[in-house]
């Protein structure tokens, strides 16, 4: 059986991960389902699978999450050029295209400093032509990643001395 994204990224051995999470198997299964719903939904709306993977690489690099960055880079490669602008994956760069720039800017701010997000940040997305439903999709993606990154960090911390 393939390991879940979180199990693989945690760096724990299969045995250590299974022992630690045995009472929370349902949570681990639902976390995996949430990952695919946020990254590869059947209906991606205005946020393609490639753009989602590229933004995930960007957010994970900013969080210095090496194993998840590698995972999302692989999803991006599989999406096959859907998000051709490499500056979307680089937290130090802003894409030239105004729509991609708005996505990147929001992912940076909501990902790293959500307390600083204000109403005008949402208005900026609307001004860039991003529809309300896609603003929710973008927020869910960034928010899910914040959860997943910290779950992986926490699992590796607990596992280190187990």
């Amino acid at each position: 059986m393939t390991r879940s994204v979180v199990a693989a990224a945690s760096g724990l051995t299969e045995a250590a991960f299974a022992a630690l999470t045995s009472a929370r198997q349902d949570v681990m299964d639902k976390t995996e389902a949430a990952h695919w719903a946020a990254l590869r939904p059947a209906d991606p709306g205005g946020l393609s699978h490639g753009e989602r993977a590229a933004l995930a690489v960007r957010v994970c690099r900013r969080h210095k999450s090496a194993t998840l960055t590698t995972h999302y880079q692989r999803l991006l490669d599989e999406a096959d050029g859907e998000a051709a602008d490499p500056s979307l994956t680089d937290p130090a760069a802003i894409p030239a295209d105004p729509r991609l720039a708005a996505l990147a800017h929001y992912a940076d701010k909501a990902g790293a400093a959500p307390r600083t997000v204000v109403a005008d940040d949402i208005e900026a997305l609307k001004r860039a032509g991003i529809e309300d439903a896609d603003i929710v999709r973008l927020s869910e993606l960034v928010a899910f990643l914040a959860y997943q990154i910290r779950l992986v960090d926490g699992l590796s911390l607990i596992g280190e001395r187990s």
């Binding site: 929370r24 949570v27 309300d132 929710v136 928010a143 959860y147 910290r150 911390l157």
Partner: protein
Amino acid sequence: MSAIIEDYTTTIPTWRPRVKPIDLKEASEAQLDALKVTPSNTKVSDYVLVLANDVETLAVRTPLFNAIMYNKGGLSRAERELGAIGASVVNRCIYCTAVHASRYNQLTKTTETVERIFAAEEAALLPPREAAIFSFAVKLSKTPSEAEDTDVEALREVGLSDEEILDLVLSASLFGWANRLMHTLGDPVEPDRGTRA
């Protein structure tokens, strides 16, 4: 329009969306299913109606949320709420803090811990067990995470098992998710009489 609430409170605010909630009359089967709308349950909050714009994520997030916060065994309900409060204070999500601080008070039948956190945020002085739990949740909620081995060690010293520490990781991380929806997609405002977000 009602004023936006900027200070911590245990009175649950009303949540005013910044993007359009879906219209229930035009909702798809999948949306109605994720919203758990039935003929006997037609009251759905604006927050959930906003999230229904991304129905695939909403459909998996609701059961995940309930499992992390209410599953049997492991860390106590109140201490999971304290993890949620730690994240919500780092992200200054006034709405989430209000909901989970009031639940924490109900579960523990105390108010002092919450009062200290409201006054001093991350620097709140708490009894050893609460301090270890709150401090870990705060550090894990930073970007990048600032939680270290010594923080996990501190949790073990106050008596948490690895399974309980995992429950704390889950609740603090989950609120990294919830805060990034609640605090970004809408504003907490003075509650209307008789309605709730």
